[in-house]
């Protein structure tokens, strides 16, 4: 447990860091205006329904939102400007996704940190107290004898 604990933890951290890097550097195909509009609609909260995005809702207000998104994109606004357009009128609650993508990584970081702390604590508690006395069976001679006996037993 002690021998594999640290490499496992380091490996997990390295793998996660690699994933983050791949996600961040992955080239994304350019979206059409309709795809952009659909993506923005999926990120905006429908103003007159509970927990639905503008893309999912059938209300007249959601339809008005979708029209406004399409008009703004057609007028040359960037998706970021379109989102800001709605935030400026409604406030931050109109966004279904947090504006800072780092927020997504906070729970993952908390879990990794928690596992690391737990592993560290377990390793520390389980580690036998250091003492001058050598535990039985740790000398080379004793080990050789154990090997011998196992081989005899197998044979």
């Amino acid at each position: 447990m002690r021998r594999i604990g640290l490499p496992l933890a380091i490996g997990a951290v390295l793998a996660l860091a690699g994933l983050v890097l791949v996600e961040a550097l992955r080239p994304s195909a350019p979206l059409t205006q309709d795809e952009q509009a659909a993506a923005i609609a999926a990120e905006l909260r429908c103003p007159d329904c509970q927990a639905l995005s503008v893309a999912e809702s059938d209300t007249a207000a959601a339809a008005a939102f979708r029209r406004e998104i399409a008009d703004l994109l057609a007028a040359g606004r960037t998706p970021e400007q379109v989102r800001s357009h709605f935030v400026a009128r409604y406030g931050g609650w109109i966004l279904l996704t947090p504006p800072n993508p780092l927020v997504w990584w906070v729970p993952i970081a908390a879990i990794v940190l928690g596992i690391a702390l737990l592993a560290w604590w377990l390793l520390r508690v389980r580690r036998p107290a250091k003492s001058g006395v050598e535990p039985p069976g740790s000398s080379d001679a004793a080990r050789a004898r154990v090997h011998e006996e196992i081989e005899q037993f197998d044979a």
Binding site: D48, E68, G91
Partner: protein
């Protein structure tokens, strides 16, 4: 050995209240908040420009009422709380000639809105048609009734969600310089 090991254990326990007390405080503080209260980014900023056709077929621009305190009321004929609120608006418009009321008809037909006014009283103020919902978006409307209070300098001072009562109306009017 009552020395170091004991001290280390008690320091470890420090982490528990350090995490739990702020978490508990956050949850407790949330109890006092009204989940229906949505802060409006409009407050403290100029009223967005309103330009639309009115129910009577006239062109309206908010520039025409600049320099006056304005109450922008978002309503619909299908909105039941709007009925009681309408009487409050009529009273306020009667009592304060310097006040300009502007109605915005939300997700409604012109015929439905006309029937509502014929039944509950037409204050004679402009009621804007918002067929594409753009005015509602510009005002950050979530659903009628909603009312925006604008002072004579054109700055939004308050936004009320839900029907106005006479008391709420008086308080919010004084906030835009209209005293009883």
């Amino acid at each position: 050995m009552p020395g170091p090991p004991r001290r280390r254990l008690s320091l470890g326990w420090l982490a528990l209240p350090v995490v739990l007390v702020p978490l508990g405080w956050l949850l407790f503080a949330g109890l006092g908040r009204d989940p229906r209260e949505i802060p409006s980014p409009l407050i403290g900023h100029p009223l967005p420009t309103l330009e639309a056709m009115t129910l009577d077929g006239d062109a309206f621009a908010s520039a025409s009422v600049a320099g006056h305190p304005i109450v922008v009321n978002i309503w619909a004929s299908w909105c039941t709380p709007c009925i009681d609120e309408h009487a409050v608006l009529l009273d306020a418009a009667d009592a304060h000639p310097e006040l300009h009321v502007v109605g915005v008809i939300y997700q409604d037909t012109a015929d439905g809105a006309r029937r509502f006014l014929a039944r509950y009283g037409d204050g004679g103020w402009p009621n804007l048609l918002d067929d594409n919902g753009r005015i509602a978006i510009d005002l950050g409307v979530t659903g009628p009734p909603e009312t925006v209070f604008v002072d004579a300098r054109g700055i939004v001072r308050a936004r009320h969600i839900g029907p106005l009562t006479a008391d709420v109306m008086a308080t919010l009017l004084s906030g835009i310089g209209v005293s009883p």
